[in-house]
């Protein structure tokens, strides 16, 4: 049987071409119809520091970044030592023999990356040397990489052809090295090409595109890892008349100014990560209380405090639901895949408009940095939903009714005071018990407008369910399919709508004997949320700063299932 899956990790020092190599390989392979995804982790420093990127190439759709490495490309000795343990039993290590040497007994192929690059006359061709060797290991037609090289460097510059030629030469040199080594991983099968057009993007870009598809007008953000790329993309693209995009002076300024823009009638958004999200709590409470649409994207990293700025974790769930003091519970959408990032973001903007309040889009580092081919979103669909607007006589009671009401926009009729203090229907501050009851209930009732959430379900007949959330969906799905293939009796439930949750799904989960929640935090946050809904939920937790391995999930789920029997 031919090989259907190929996992390569490039590891080294920042600036050695680790990311370029991994993403170049992904780009090249996606162009020839393979499914690709990359996963990166890098240090919180500008230059240098240990960094690695993993590329998974598969002939059909893959859901995780892969447990075992087929190939480790070690740019330096420290990378070799750190990562060699992740190489699978049949895996190969390609290392830069110009930097260090290792015992020949390893299944390792040493090449002097830089010396080989030099032979091509282009010192920067080292990543093509590596790609050439990789191609040989899985008998990939070298033409795939040559085509990629030509497309990438045909930029209309005078030295384009020179670069293309040297890169092609580098591919050949790498190929030779691999051939001489005698190593082989078996031939990679031709891909079952995805149906329909594909795009290659990461989670941050997908979030950005989704918001724009829903008609975003205003974006104000403050730089913070790993959310900064959303701000940068918006700065470049959310332009033109009536649009405003800006780097603010703090997260407090970001949230309060998008609340102002939302109040003035615009669709507004900010993006941040844990520390910034903590600062936004009071402003989110204002939007909830004064009923002002806005969206906050929290790209989770490891916490608390500054925590792990460049690692992944799912530990902001509870703070996303309850970012501020008092009786509030913010709608939260947590996409589980790069593709879902697009739709989740569009829905977040629309939900904010519909219920007139803040919505939190909970992404995470592992998704934000994951570049993946996904089906191109259907651009014939309308993703735009607008708030209900009042523009009539004065004396309007803005906060009247138990389930929301049309919103006046400054400049039009129906002046009122949007109030963060408890208020009466016209917006004036009040302390009457009856009003606090009326308005508190109104704010919670409005959540019923968000009743279009959906969920996935598989094998619902079984009484034990696996219910992942967010980016753990991918590894959990692979674990689930392996377990089903082994006749383990478990069902699958998944939704990206954390709050409000699909009612049917809640109802079904309440009838289960056990609900297993894999999540990347210490406390088992989603499991505790589900337990508060009367569901017998137990978490499988991991707090390493890295995503789950499928293998670990399979083992842990099996143990929990066995415990019930």
């Amino acid at each position: 049987m031919k090989k259907q899956d190929f996992v390569v990790r490039f590891a080294g020092e920042g600036g050695q071409g680790v990311v370029t190599s991994a993403e170049g390989l992904a780009q090249a392979m996606s162009q020839s119809g393979y499914y690709v995804q990359t996963f990166s982790t890098f240090p919180s420093q500008i230059r240098g520091g240990p960094t690695w990127t993993q590329t998974r190439i598969s002939t059909t759709k893959a859901y995780s970044s892969g447990d075992d490495l087929d190939v480790l490309v070690a740019f330096n000795e420290s990378a070799y030592n750190t990562h060699k343990g992740d190489v699978g039993p049949d895996g190969v290590i390609i290392y830069n023999s110009g930097e260090f040497n290792i015992d020949k007994s390893d299944k390792s192929l040493g090449m002097d990356f830089d010396e080989l690059a030099k032979q091509t006359g282009n010192n920067r061709a080292a990543n093509f040397v590596v790609m050439g060797a990789l191609a040989r290991l899985v008998f990939l037609p070298i033409k795939v990489l040559e085509d990629f090289n030509r497309d990438r460097y045909n930029r209309g510059r005078p030295n384009d052809q020179k670069i293309i030629d040297s890169n092609n030469m580098a591919l050949g040199l790498g190929l030779n090295e691999a051939e001489n080594s005698g190593f082989s991983l078996g031939e990679l099968e031709d891909p079952i090409k995805p149906e329909g057009e594909q795009i290659l993007i990461n989670g941050n870009i997908a979030v950005s595109l989704g918001a724009v598809a829903a008609g975003l007008d205003v974006f104000i953000g403050y730089p913070i890892s790993p959310a900064t790329p959303i701000l940068l993309w918006m700065e470049q693209n959310l332009v033109g008349e009536g649009k405003f995009v800006y780097q603010s002076s703090s997260e407090i300024e970001s949230i309060t100014s998008i609340v102002g823009a939302g109040y003035a009638g615009k669709k507004s958004m900010t993006s941040t990560a844990g520390p910034g999200f903590s600062l936004m709590g009071e402003g989110i409470g204002l939007a909830w209380m004064a009923e002002i649409p806005c969206v906050v994207v929290d790209v989770q990293r490891g916490g608390p405090s500054t925590g792990l700025p460049t690692k992944t974790e799912q530990s902001d769930l509870l703070t996303a639901l309850y970012p501020g003091h008092g009786d509030l519970k913010i709608p939260v959408i947590a996409p589980g895949t790069v593709e879902e990032c697009f739709y989740a973001s569009a829905i977040a903007v629309n939900w904010a408009e519909r219920y007139q309040g803040p919505v939190v889009l909970l992404s995470e580092h592992a998704l934000s940095e994951k570049r993946q081919n996904i089906p191109k979103p259907d651009m014939s669909k309308n993703y735009i939903e607008n708030r209900s607007i009042y523009n009539g006589e004065e004396g309007y009671l803005r906060y009247e009714g138990s389930n929301g009401s049309p919103m006046p926009i400054p400049g039009n009729g129906g002046t009122y005071v949007a109030n963060g203090s408890e208020h009466d229907p016209m917006g004036d501050t009040t302390h009457l018990p009856a009003r606090h009851i009326e308005m508190t209930e109104r704010r919670f009732n409005k959540l019923n407008l968000l009743n279009d959430s959906t969920y996935e379900i598989d094998n619902s007949k079984y009484n034990i369910a696996i219910v992942p959330w967010g980016g753990s969906k991918g590894p959990a799905w692979e674990a689930y399919t392996q377990l089903i293939a082994q006749d383990v009796e478990i069902s699958w439930y998944y939704t990206m709508f954390i709050h409000p949750m699909p009612l049917e799904m809640l109802k079904e989960l309440r009838s289960k004997d056990l609900v297993i929640v894999p999540e990347l935090n210490y406390m088992g946050q989603y499991a505790s949320v589900l337990r508060s809904e009367g569901i017998k939920a137990v978490p499988i937790t991991q707090y390493t700063g890295l995503p789950f391995k499928v293998r670990d999930l399979v083992t842990n789920i099996k143990a929990l299932v066995k415990g019930v029997e």
Binding site: L209, F244, I252, T430
Partner: protein
């Protein structure tokens, strides 16, 4: 809205300077509506929290739009509103605690941007609504409910701070001079850029400074506040500095710089002048 709504139960104390400030703002808004032929619903009043923040509910004439937000954040909320719709006339109302204490961090950035809004600051040198704690404009050594042994930090000079930060319209007045205040607030609303009208608005309950500000000849108290001499050139930054380096509180227009573009103009010239790609072509740019 106090007159219309019996449920709204907030009151300023008798003699509170904020009554005068209300009349001053109402006068400026009335003039603005007539002179600029702008309906009142083109104005948004952004309030902070405190006695001063209640201004947004206390306005008794034709009602503008309002937002009563959170403590210290009137300026960034106003920025969001103004940049969302630069055609709006945006006014913030806040006290010295709100504007200069918790909200201090927002003044510099708005000055850098020259955000085209008007900030009305009601300075009573004390946190009134929480019952008499010291504020940034309380004098060193003063005993308040939060400084039982006397305040241990010096007093901020707000006007100097505004000038240093680059605010392009700085006026100073007192709550008893309603006509002057109306004129200054009106001019501030017309000023192309970030304007601040800083008003001495005494708290009769916790920090009654009327006598100190206006003086009392019988008691031999000379007034702290004085009208800026006629010859003062508000376009001259050195003259403004000299004024603020001298003792006392000058009343009138301290400084004005109309040479800078406003934030919304610059944004319009840059971000606004670009053409946004359609979502279709943005998505297509990632095609494999």
């Amino acid at each position: 809205m106090t007159l219309k709504n019996p449920e709204y139960d907030f009151k300023w104390c008798p003699g509170c300077g904020d009554f005068g400030v209300r009349r001053g703002i109402e006068g400026a808004l009335e003039k603005y509506v007539i002179e600029k032929e702008q309906p009142i619903n083109n104005t948004v009043v952004v309030a902070g929290i405190g006695c001063s923040g209640n201004m947004v509910h206390m306005l008794e004439k034709e009602q503008p739009f309002g937002i009563h937000g959170i403590h210290g954040r009137s300026l960034p909320i106003a920025m969001g509103i103004k940049m969302a719709n630069p055609d709006l006339n945006v006014l913030t109302v806040a006290g010295d605690g709100d504007f200069l204490g918790i909200g201090m961090e927002h003044i510099g950035p708005q000055a850098m941007r020259n955000l085209n809004i008007t900030a009305v600051v009601m300075d009573n040198g004390v946190y009134g609504l929480t019952k008499g704690q010291s504020s940034p404009t309380t004098e060193l050594g003063v005993i308040t409910s939060s400084t039982p042994f006397g305040k241990i930090e010096g007093k901020l000079n707000p006007l100097r701070a505004y000038l240093t930060l680059g605010v392009t319209f700085i006026a100073s007045t007192i709550s008893t001079k309603v006509k002057d205040m109306s004129a200054l607030v009106y001019d501030a609303m017309n000023h192309p850029g970030f304007s601040i009208v800083h008003i001495q608005s005494p708290c009769t309950e916790y920090n009654n400074t009327y006598e100190a500000l206006k003086g009392n000849a019988a008691k031999g108290i000379s007034p702290l506040a004085y009208d800026i001499p006629e010859g003062h050139d508000p376009e001259d930054i050195m003259a403004a500095q000299d004024l603020l380096n001298a003792d006392g509180i000058p009343l009138g227009l301290v400084y004005r710089d109309t040479s800078r573009k406003t934030f919304d103009q610059i944004s319009m010239d840059t971000i606004g002048s670009k053409e946004m790609k359609s979502i279709k072509s943005l998505v297509n740019s990632f095609s494999i």
